[in-house]
């Protein structure tokens, strides 16, 4: 038997998915209808789903297969962006969907799942391959893992993998505990911890930009780079998720996972080849090199904020504490900023400023690399503003692309310089459709490519980096609210950068 499919044409074909069944725990939840089913349907539309394919949904809500299919069809109408609904395709795709209700704490739920998988392996020809997708509330993760283990479903005639949604733990201790629990049932190579930021085309493009070009990497170090700013701003508030968000906050919800992963992508060493473990090794090294903040240093290296009420565009918006489901004296950070140092040869003493917040002036995620200013400017006279340093902006969303700011001579007499921007617009800016992060990550999990998933050591290293801040905040209540909705966060955040002579740029 040939080892590889001789019909493949990697130059023209998209990666193919092997026959498999996907078991979604938490199938009546938001993620399934907003992201997972639309992503799977899009993959089917793009002819990337194999004939031997099935989805088994599970949650406690009683539903028949047909009711589940009808619900997923409604979800497609609402959430399948830029994907035409083809009735013939849907009729075929929907046959692959099935559902059963069951409590994850009840062993019978998994005995039933085992029987269903056996049946589907025969009827849908899924060849024993199973991807478990845990998209329940975090408090049910352990029950799902235990249930799979007890029913001996983590091994079978084909491959078995498990995708675990964020949050992966609530702090370092709970993350370790969850890892231990996973490893009682699965080996590390079977575990796919999802961080959908890593699935974004533009985050992947950072790697292409850095390691596909020869001209940037020589400048990518402490000798030329002054500091790095990573911003993930949202203009919306908690949008009805107040009770969930109150338990998380910006540091846990964004910085510990997404933004530290983005930072590791910016700061990592080039892997010898683009292979899952080699790429993840390099990311992990960066995360392990993050300087641990001492408890007494926390106020100097981090800022917490919470938005208060404001009037934006002639519309009153509530403060966080006025949101539904939020305690009136909540200490949750809706804004967090941290200064991170990576203690290695490449980045020693280069500050990475990372901020994320809700109810900021606009929705934007970008990475700004500020280079050192020219050592001497022959064009500057007394009284002139100092020359503005070069700035490289890697825009993640919404205007995906790359901009380089440099100085140019103003037309006309005299040597007056002004900053100009050289822009590259990526993907959607040129009109073509980029796959959603979930399409990319689901295909990766089905083909067994873990490059864009986080590994145990990466998760623990990133929790270790923020744990001193979490510990400090737990014992030092802040004077919230400290920024009005619609502004760029508390003043103390500006102060944090000012101590090193830097300012937040306005994205």
């Amino acid at each position: 038997m040939p080892a590889e499919n001789p019909f493949q044409d990697p130059l023209r074909f998209q990666r193919r998915v092997p026959p498999c069944a996907i078991v979604i725990f938490g199938a009546s939840g938001d993620l399934t209808k907003r992201k997972l089913i639309p992503a799977l349907y899009r993959l089917a539309y793009d002819r990337r789903i194999p004939p031997g394919f099935a989805v088994i949904g599970n949650s406690r809500t009683p539903m028949t297969d047909d009711q589940f299919r009808a619900k997923m069809r409604e979800a497609l109408n609402e959430f399948a962006d830029n994907t035409p609904i083809d009735e013939g395709l849907w009729a075929d795709f929907s046959k692959s969907l099935s559902y059963y209700a069951g409590d994850l704490n009840d062993p019978e739920c998994f005995n039933l799942l085992g029987k269903k998988l056996e049946e589907i392996e025969l009827t849908r020809k899924t060849e024993g391959n199973v991807l478990f997708y845990v998209s329940t509330q975090p408090s049910h993760y352990e029950a799902a893992i235990n249930g799979i283990g007890r029913a001996k479903l983590a091994q079978g005639s084909g491959w078995r993998r498990i995708v675990v949604e964020k949050p992966f733990g609530h702090d370092l201790e709970t993350a370790r505990s969850l890892n231990n629990k996973l490893h009682e049932v699965f080996t590390e190579t079977q575990v796919y911890r999802i961080d959908h930021y890593l699935g974004k085309e533009t985050v992947q493009n950072v790697l292409a930009f850095r390691f596909g070009n020869g001209i940037f990497e020589p400048l990518w170090n402490r000798r030329y780079i002054n500091h790095v700013q990573i911003t993930a701003a949202e203009s919306i508030g908690v949008e009805g998720r107040g009770s969930y968000y109150q338990e998380a906050g910006a540091l846990r919800d964004m910085i510990q996972n997404h933004l530290l992963q983005v930072m590791s992508t910016v700061a990592m060493e080039p892997p010898a080849v683009f292979e899952s473990d080699l790429v993840r090794d390099e990311r992990a090294k960066v995360l392990r090199s993050i300087r641990r903040i001492k408890p007494e240093e926390v106020p100097m290296f981090s800022v917490a904020g919470q938005y208060g009420p404001a009037n934006i565009g002639n519309k009153d918006v509530p403060g966080f504490r006025q949101e539904e489901g939020v305690s009136k004296d909540s200490q949750t950070d809706t804004y967090s900023a941290v200064t991170v140092f990576i203690d290695n040869w490449r980045w020693a003493d280069v500050p990475f400023y990372i901020r994320s917040g809700k109810r900021l002036p606009k929705r934007v995620t970008d990475i700004a690399i500020q280079f050192n200013a020219a050592p001497h400017s022959p064009f500057t006279r007394d009284g002139d503003e100092p020359a503005r340093p070069n700035l490289l902006i890697l825009r993640i969303q919404p205007e995906e692309g790359i901009s380089l700011r440099f100085l140019s001579k103003d037309p006309g007499e005299g040597m007056h310089l002004r900053p100009v921007s050289m822009d590259f617009n990526y993907g959607t800016s040129f009109g073509s459709r980029s796959p959603s992060a979930y399409e990319t990550l689901l295909v990766d999990a089905m083909v067994g490519d873990a490059t864009l998933y986080t590994r145990q050591d990466m998760v623990e290293a990133s929790w270790s980096a923020v744990q001193p801040i979490l510990d400090y905040r737990a014992t030092h209540p802040a004077g919230f609210p400290n920024y009005p909705a619609g502004t760029w966060g508390p003043k103390t955040s500006e102060d944090m950068l000012a101590r090193r002579g830097h300012v937040w740029r306005t994205p």
Binding site: P19, Y45, F53, K125, P398, D423, F430, S432
Partner: protein
């Protein structure tokens, strides 16, 4: 009618165009260019659709497009004009623009065109030559352009067997060759490849003893048969069909000991794959010229599979 066109003058006009565009737009415009894309078209063909196609592919493959429109007159006539293809990406406040140069030439002035084009090629970027009319591309004047091109694209779907013969006759060295009919088959080839993603089916691939292709267009059938020969060293039987087809292929049947797979168009845009008891229906969306070019322009390196298939397909054509 002007009978002389100077590249310097066209480049100056382009410069003026950018200045004007910059003045018209408050936020300026973003110039995008990733290649020189030369299109030759017979004036008698649907010349308007070329403009539409170029506008559509610019979003993915921004380029300096040089459209050469050739009229059948022997009277010397050569003219050129420049224009910009601009669009405003959703949610942005700055237009993205690409350059387009249109050269109108009579047959009598065709010999002057390669000299003009040589001066208009964007330095340091790939050059793709898309010959929409195979007869034009066989003229000595256009043969002179081939060494400048990194890739030559033709469409045998428009002109039938002649382009296949022509493409196969070009030396293996030199520019990469492409045929849009091969792009039309990508969907079919993906579906066939998908059947063999299953290890059980993959085992059967080596012992297939019957491959039948039901077709309505010869070139597509030759290419598909050649692909099977390239992959499996197996001969396919070609059978004319009148049932619904996509890319001129209506059905493919594969059989071996204990194995049968049938891939069939069940409507104009739906293909159904049946392997044993497993059925899957997929959508084969309509492929416009711009969709085909979009795929082909994404492959700028050598395509060893197509190179091999091209030779084999031409051999099948000769034997048939």
């Amino acid at each position: 009618m002007a009978t002389s066109v100077q590249p310097e003058k066209i480049l100056k006009d382009l410069g003026g165009l950018w200045v004007d565009l910059g003045k018209q737009e408050e936020n300026g415009v973003l110039r995008a260019c990733a290649m020189t894309f030369i299109v030759t078209v017979d004036e008698s063909q649907d010349a308007f659709s070329v403009g539409e196609t170029i506008a559509a592919i610019m979003h993915d493959h921004p380029s300096r497009a040089i459209v050469v429109r050739v009229s059948q007159s022997e009277e010397p006539s050569l003219d050129a004009r420049v224009l910009a293809q601009c669009w405003m990406p959703f949610g942005r406040n700055q237009q993205i623009c690409c350059e387009q140069i249109e050269i109108s030439s009579s047959l009598g002035s065709l010999r002057d065109v390669p000299g003009v084009i040589r001066g208009l090629i964007v330095p340091d970027l790939p050059v793709v030559l898309y010959c929409r009319n195979i007869h034009l591309s066989q003229t000595p004047q256009f043969q002179a352009l081939l060494p400048l091109a990194g890739k030559l694209v033709i469409d045998s779907g428009i002109d039938g067997l002649e382009p296949l013969r022509y493409l196969a006759s070009l030396p293996r060295e030199g520019c990469h060759k492409a045929d849009l009919t091969w792009c039309r088959l990508t969907r079919w080839r993906e579906s066939i490849a998908q059947v063999f993603e299953s290890p059980a089916n993959l085992q059967a691939a080596a012992s297939l003893n019957e491959i039948q292709i039901f077709y309505s267009g010869e070139v597509a059938a030759y290419y598909l048969a050649a692909w099977f020969k390239h992959v499996l060293r197996a001969e396919a039987k070609l059978i004319r069909a009148t049932s619904p087809s996509f890319a001129s292929i209506a059905r493919v049947e594969l059989r071996g000991p204990g194995f049968e797979a049938v891939l069939e168009m069940v409507s104009e845009s739906s293909e159904e794959t049946r392997v044993g008891t497993v059925r899957q229906r997929v959508v084969f969306p309509e492929m416009r010229e711009c969709d085909l070019l979009r795929e082909e322009l994404s492959v700028m390196s050598r395509d060893p599979i197509f190179e091999s298939v091209l030779g084999l397909a031409n051999s099948i054509r000769e034997k048939t």
